[in-house]
Each structure stands twice: as structure tokens, then as C-alpha cells.
């Protein structure tokens, strides 16, 4: 269970999350949709514990959290297998066992034979698969995905999506998936959480196309608005007292 209760978060005086509240139930796949700069990545960072809210409560039930970032964030000085094993070793599993499990995940992700390669020797798609392996190897209670396929080509994106879908079927886990792409969200999710300007949230069922289209229009409108804001920072607020 993930619960956000009246969460506020700002960076350098710019408020990103403004009184945000929502619940995500255990073992559901939830996509978070919203325009750029609305705070989608900030939500994931708050769930992972990498940052803390300024005000409000973030409750996370579940010990193990796997995170697939937009960029792979692999340790360049460790082999692909050791990168996959990183979370397992951090949990306290013996190195040999961790490496064995990591090798199993690499096979599953079609990376067999590349175990001893360093990240710098792999292609972008392979690196992202290593990063997926790192997040899944710990068998997380919660899996956070931050637009993991945005830097990949369409074909690779399709292959990885299919791969992830089969993995989600096999392992029961709560998934929070941040994306811009409505088709991806519809394909993968049990529920879609649309974040609207002012941190207003709206829950949408993946088959509710009418609502999705409405929000998509808002997304486009907001994207234009975000571009304008960059030129004229008219909505910058400062957290002083709440």
C-alpha cells in the first residue's frame, strides 16, 4: 500500500507537489500520467525514500523497492552481472548466490553471454535491460519505473514492454509506472492516476477512453503552458507557511 496524504514538496523555492493525496493498493499496476514538470518523478523519489516531503505524509508498506530509472544508472566499474546483483548483495545475500541469481535474470532478459561485459561495452538497450534486471532481481514489493523506455527505439520498447508484462504476470508486485505515453499506460496498468495542474489527481480506468482523451488534451494544453512558463516564470510559488 502506498499512501500520499497532503504532500508538499518544493525545490529551490519552486513548488512541485502542492497538497497531493492519493492511494495505491498492493499488487496493482498503476501508471502515473501527467505533463512534464508536474512532479511525476518527484512522486517516485518520495516513494523510494531518496527524498523526504516538506510537509505531509508518505506511507509505504513493503520493504523492498526496485527502481528502474529513465537512464540506466549502472556502475560503470562493475560488470553487467555485478550490477544486477547489487541490490541482492545490499540485502545481505552472499556474493556467489547473488551472482547466480543475477545470471538467471540476465538469461531471462536475453542478456546471456554478456555477464562479464562492463556497461560501457553494452548498447543503450542492453544497459536498460541490465537496469531492469537489477530492479527485478531483488523481487521487490514495489517496483518504480520512471519512463524507462523513453530513450529507446520503438522496436526495443515493444520487446521490453512484452517482457515486463510477462514478468508482472509471473511475480505479484505493486508497480508504479510514470509515463507520458497513454498507449503504454493503457496496455500495462490496472489503474491510471492522472496528475493535473495544482497536484489535482484523478483516477481513470484504462478502458475509460473518453476520460483519457480529455486528460490527454489537458496534457497537451499543459505542455504548451509549461513551455510558456519557461519563458515567463509566472506560476513560481514559495513555500512560506502552511
Amino acid at each position: 500500500m502506498i499512501r500520499f496524504q497532503k504532500v508538499f514538496k518544493s525545490f529551490s523555492g519552486h513548488m512541485v507537489l502542492n497538497n497531493l493525496s492519493f492511494d495505491i493498493e498492493t499488487n496493482t499496476v498503476v501508471s502515473i500520467l501527467g505533463p512534464s514538470g508536474i512532479g511525476k518523478t518527484t512522486i517516485l523519489r518520495l516513494i523510494s525514500g531518496a527524498i523526504n516531503p516538506d510537509f505531509g505524509v508518505v506511507e509505504v508498506t513493503g520493504k523492498k523497492i526496485g527502481y528502474i530509472f529513465q537512464d540506466p544508472r549502472l556502475l560503470p566499474w562493475r560488470t553487467a552481472r555485478d550490477n544486477v546483483a547489487l541490490g541482492l548483495i545490499a540485502e545481505g545475500k552472499p556474493k556467489d548466490e547473488s551472482r547466480r541469481i543475477a545470471a538467471g535474470w540476465m538469461k531471462k532478459l536475453d542478456l546471456e553471454g554478456f555477464e562479464d561485459y562492463y556497461p560501457g561495452e553494452l548498447s543503450g538497450g542492453m544497459m536498460q535491460r541490465v537496469s531492469i534486471g537489477r530492479a527485478l532481481a531483488i523481487e521487490p514489493d514495489i517496483l518504480l519505473m520512471d519512463e524507462p523506455f523513453s530513450n529507446l527505439n520503438v522496436e526495443l520498447k515493444k520487446t521490453l514492454m512484452t517482457m515486463l508484462e510477462s514478468i508482472f504476470e509471473e511475480y505479484q508486485t505493486t508497480v508504479v509506472y510514470v509515463t507520458h505515453d497513454i498507449s503504454e499506460a493503457v496496455r500495462i496498468s490496472d489503474k491510471i492516476l492522472s496528475i493535473l495542474p495544482g497536484s489535482v489527481t484523478e483516477e481513470i480506468q484504462p478502458d475509460d477512453f473518453q476520460k483519457l482523451m480529455q486528460n490527454s488534451c489537458i496534457d497537451e494544453y499543459e505542455s504548451d503552458l509549461t513551455k510558456k512558463r519557461k519563458k515567463e516564470p509566472m506560476f513560481t510559488k514559495k513555500v512560506t507557511a502552511i
Binding site: 523519489r45 523510494s48 525514500g49 531518496a50 523497492i65 527502481y67 530509472f69 537512464d71 544508472r73 556502475l75 560503470p76 566499474w77 562493475r78 547489487l86 541490490g87 548483495i89 545490499a90 540485502e91 562492463y118 560501457g120 561495452e121 553494452l122 548498447s123 543503450g124 542492453m126 537489477r134 531483488i138
Partner: protein
Amino acid sequence: MPVPSTRRQKFTVGGMITSFHNFLLADKVLYGVLGVIIFLVFWQALSWIFNAMIVASPLATINALFALLTETKTWEYIMITLFRLIVGLFLGSIVGLLLGLAAGTNKKIRQVLEPIKWTSMTIPAIVISIMAMLWFGMGSEQVIFVVIIIVAPITYVNAMEGRFAIDEKLIEMGRCFNLPLKMFFREIYLPGIAASVIAGFALTAGMGVRVVVLAEFMGAHDGIGYGLSKSYMYLDTPELFAWILISLALLGLLEFGIMKPLKTHMMRWKKGGNLS
């Protein structure tokens, strides 16, 4: 069966220059040998110009070196100096590394350490050596202390710069995957600062050799520096030059025997290109 090529290359002046250039590039050693020859010629010329008591000739120095190397005492001195150097370098590097990492991570620690860094970097080694003689007397402790004081700030600066160069995203990744502190050090911080620290080691090792010899010259009853001071007192210039050659050999041993293999091992992940 492979067929040997019968194609002949056209002979041109430009081609000949390129081939010669490639030959030189292919054999880096050649440039090194050229440097040594120029140095020896210059040295020989100086020994002709000046009195033999001021500049010993290369031949006299080599003779003195062989004479020295046949004595057990010389080897004893070399081992003593090597021990002091390695202990000083090791402890100085550990101190600099830990403080540099702490300063690179925490601004307050950096501000506290900044005046200490500047003080230790600006005080001349000879002053530190005199003070160390007062505190520790003559012997290994004072020599090792001087090496630590000289080496630690250099490693500190390199470690701090290395820490700045670590991608913050990797650190956030480590936090997200709940890496314990020990793993943070082993998996992120130490490999992240390795390039910067190892690059600085060449400078540190050179500085270490100079300082250890100076400290021994000033306040020890053994070691290469003591050998130098003895030759200086007896005005035995060829032997003095021979001790200098031994110091250089020590530096070469550190560079090629320890630093280079260490660098190759630590930086092995930088080999090759990617598959994209």
C-alpha cells in the same frame, strides 16, 4: 589457404616520412631512449665544464654506483627508505582519502579542513622536518611523519575532486537500493574517485621520494638520505650522484612496480567500445 599479398606500395617522400613517423610512434621506447641520451650528453658536458668535485661524470657515477651496490649496508639503507616511503605514502594516502571524501560530501567538513589544507600545503618540507625532529627525535617516526604531512593534502585534494566528479544520480541510485555505508564506499565512492586519486599518485610518489630523502638527510642515522649526507660530508661527489640515481630507481620502482599495475587493475572497466 591464405594467398600472400603481392601488392607493392608506391615509394614517395611523404610516404617515407609517414612510415618513419609511424615507426617512432609505434616504438614509444625510442623517444625515452632519445631523452636519456640527451640527458647523458648534457651531464657529460657539464662534468667537462665544472670541477669533478662539483659535477661527477656519468662514468665516475656508474663506478661509484657499482661500488655502493656491492655493499650490504647500501641494500639495508634502500630497504629502510623503501619501508619509510611505503608506510608514509600509505598512511598519508589513507588520511587524505578519507578526509577528501568527507570534505567532498559535506560542505561544513570542507570548510573546517580548508585552513588546515592550506597550512600543510604551504609550509616547506624542511620546516616540517625540523619540527618533526623536535617532536620525534632522529629516526623512522620523524621521516614517516613528514611524508604523511606532505602526502595527505595532495591526496585530500584529489579525493575531493574525485568525489565532486561522481555522478549524483549514482548516489541516488545507491540510496534507492538501500546500499549500506560499507557498500557505498566500496561500490560507488572508492571506484568513483579512483581515477583522480591514482592520477595524483604519480605526483604523490615523486613528492614522497623527495621528502623521505630530505627527512633522512636532516634527521636519520640510516636510509638513502643518510647515505647522501655522508657522501656530502666527505665531499664524495660520484657517490653522492650514485645515491641520487638510487633515489630515481626507487621512484621508478614505485611508478612501474606498484602504481602502473594498480592503475591498470582499477581502470580495467575503461577498456573497449560499446555495442551500439
